[in-house]
Amino acid sequence: MNTKKKNRWLSGLLTSEKYSSFTVSVLAIVLTLVTASVLLLIMGKNPARAFLCFLQGCGFAPKANYGGGSGMLSDLFDFLNYLAPMLLASLAFIVGFKAGLFNIGIAGQMLMSGFAATVIVGYNKSIPAGLAKPLVIIIGIIVGGLTGALIGYLKYKFNIHEVVSTIMVNYIISYTTGFFINNKYVDMLTRTSRVCSPASRLTWTGVQIGGVGCKVPLGIVIAIVMAFVVRFIFDKTAFGFELKAVGLNKNCAQYIGVGVGKSIVASMALSGVLAGLAGVTYYLGYSNTIIPKTLAGMGYDSIAVALLGNSSPVGSIFAAIIVTIFQQGANYMSSTIGVAKEIASLITGILLLYASCGGHMKELAAGILQKDLYREIEAKQASEGSGSGKEEKR
């Protein structure tokens, strides 16, 4: 009886209009942690210790010892540095997703805008910091937006599935930029592109806060502002409403007078703008070089973030924090307890798997509730039936 009650309580939470977007994500996280714990136990490691290490690596808990000049705060700022592009990338996915488009090419759009900004501003040492930083952001917006709009145009004009075209564009961008980096901008020692000038970088390095050196990211401010901007667009503007209408039902949207083609191009362009911002905060903020022919794994992690955040811009802030803890904390965890750091991607993948089952979980919960309801009604009818029977006998 007790388990039944518990069941009903959980199902109620999962299906209730108010909480379901939140509880489904939490359930996905809990299931992921359980799966990851089982995996770690099989490998003979202590899961609790591993999860603590993830937190320690991100500056949420003190480490056993720190190197000279660094402390918990510097880890926390490193975490924010990584969180900024992650959040922007997931917002990029959300904008496309709301309009029914899957922007799988975020990694490519990031690389393109990061490369353009590095070459145009980052290598131009004469531009002062006050001008360089806004210029980097503007280039990110323009290049990312154009790349995104191209995908949207191909979809609208030629009916090319955006998943296939974004992947193709990803490889084309990756090879082209790789070619230019290898031939013109390579640092012979590290085999990556030469570092961009500190003036153009969106992160202030070596800032002393509380006696430890921190890298203070500008990107995190942009990212959080953008999260609320995206929320505003979708909740309060006609443009956002049109995008959502196209995402829900194209034919219906056309019928009520929404320009479907225009909306597709616009949503991909906006998605590209956000991906471009993610690109400049990643390549000219979190890092200051570009590894040729390598797409950032973040482009794919951001999909997990968006699905986990139930494709709500503000929800994805929390989802981004969780995924970033795993990605950013993996290095420290790997060096302390000796599990390969690729487990971070694995955990993200499992998270993604559970998050994508969210719809089914809701359905399942609704089914349980409905069955319960039927059982109750049947029981009531049965008791009423027997009651009336007795009366008749009398």
Binding site: M43, F102, I104, L154, F158, N159, I160, H161, V163, V164, S165, I167, M168, V169, N170, Y171, I172, Y175, T176, G178, F179, N182, N183, K293, Y300, I303, A304, L307, A340, E342, I343, S345, L346, T348, G349, I350, L352, L353, S356, C357, G359, H360, E363
Partner: protein, 319 residues
């Protein structure tokens, strides 16, 4: 020139088997963007079995390759169950499911490759070194000028795949099962009314899709890459999907498209060598198949007819 044909064919044929896998899944009504993940995971299982068997059977043994191919097919098929479960049972969005399966596949295989390497030889490398399959030439045919390159220096797996493709072509277009499968993608309600089992057919189709993709993956590992590493995720799964779209979901035309892709790739590479450009420039030529795909898609995406019911979970009560 003969080298263009030889290399082009050895690239086109594994691509073709993956595309046939994709066709099976989509024709049954399950949109399949998960080919990339299927081929990577299948190849991982195949390579893992090969690594275990190599010390037993001797390093140069070719038998390992055939066992690895079988293992890759099984592994790909098992992994495809995730996609089938999400799409058919859980009625999740099929595009999302495909992306999830791909991302999870990369993560799973990367992690377990380094974990397995740590367990077997104590080094945390993310590679299984496999070597390259032996080659053979068909006597007589390979002596023909120009076209002879098609029959020169062939990998044995090319023959196996051609036989498999013929078999699966027959299965799809000439048998009762194939008829049902195609009907499931066009009008599942009609199949149900005729007493067919829609979801069961779709399950089988997705599993076939995974198995064939796995074979394609391990063949790439044994030819172009000569090892198994995360670099197996080069987007060839997506190329196969593009070939399928361009080939209008038909096995015959898709085979032609795969050949074009193969020759474009090897032709570009040989052109780069013939023009005497430094190796840095090979990057530009490696892009050719992707650019070609985009151009072809621009011209052919509008005219083609995808299976009508693809992308929709089957709902018995729906009309």
């Amino acid at each position: 020139m003969t080298k263009v044909f030889t290399d082009g064919l050895s690239f086109a044929i594994p691509l073709l088997i993956m595309a046939v896998g994709a066709i099976y899944s989509e024709k049954s009504g399950v949109t399949n963007l998960a080919i990339e993940g299927f081929q990577g995971f299948g190849a991982f299982i195949g390579a893992f079995i090969a690594i275990l068997l190599m010390p037993v059977l001797g390093n140069g043994s070719q038998a390992v390759i055939y066992i690895a191919m079988a293992a890759a097919a099984v592994g790909g098929g098992i992994y495809a169950c995730i996609h089938a479960l999400l799409c058919i049972k859980f009625k999740a969005n099929q595009v999302i499911s495909g992306v999830v399966v791909n991302i999870l596949g990369v993560a799973l295989t990367t992690f377990f490759t380094s974990a397995a390497n740590t367990a077997i030889n104590g080094t945390a490398s993310n590679k299984f070194i496999l070597g390259v399959s032996s080659r053979f030439s068909i006597p007589g045919l390979s002596a023909i000028p120009w076209v002879g390159g098609l029959f020169k220096n062939m990998y044995p797996f090319e023959i196996i795949i051609i036989v498999l493709v013929l078999f699966f072509w027959y299965l799809m277009y000439k048998t009762r099962f194939g008829m049902h499968l195609r009907a499931c993608g066009e009008n599942p309600q009609a199949v149900d009314a005729a007493g067919g089992k829609v979801n069961k057919t779709r399950w089988i189709a997705v599993i076939i899709s995974g198995a064939l993709s796995g074979i394609g993956g391990i063949c790439f590992a044994y030819s172009i890459l000569a090892n198994y590493s995360p670099s197996i995720y080069m987007g060839y799964g997506y190329l196969a999907i593009a070939a399928m779209i361009f080939g209008n979901w038909n096995i015959g035309t898709t085979a032609l498209v795969c050949l074009i892709f193969g020759f474009a790739k090897s032709g570009g590479y040989q052109l780069c060598i013939a023009m005497g450009l430094p190796s840095n420039y090979s990057d530009l030529f490696l892009m050719l198949p992707y650019i070609l795909t985009m151009i072809l898609l621009i011209f052919f995406s509008k005219k083609n007819h995808p299976p009508k019911a693809a992308g929709e979970p089957w709902d018995k009560g729906k009309r």
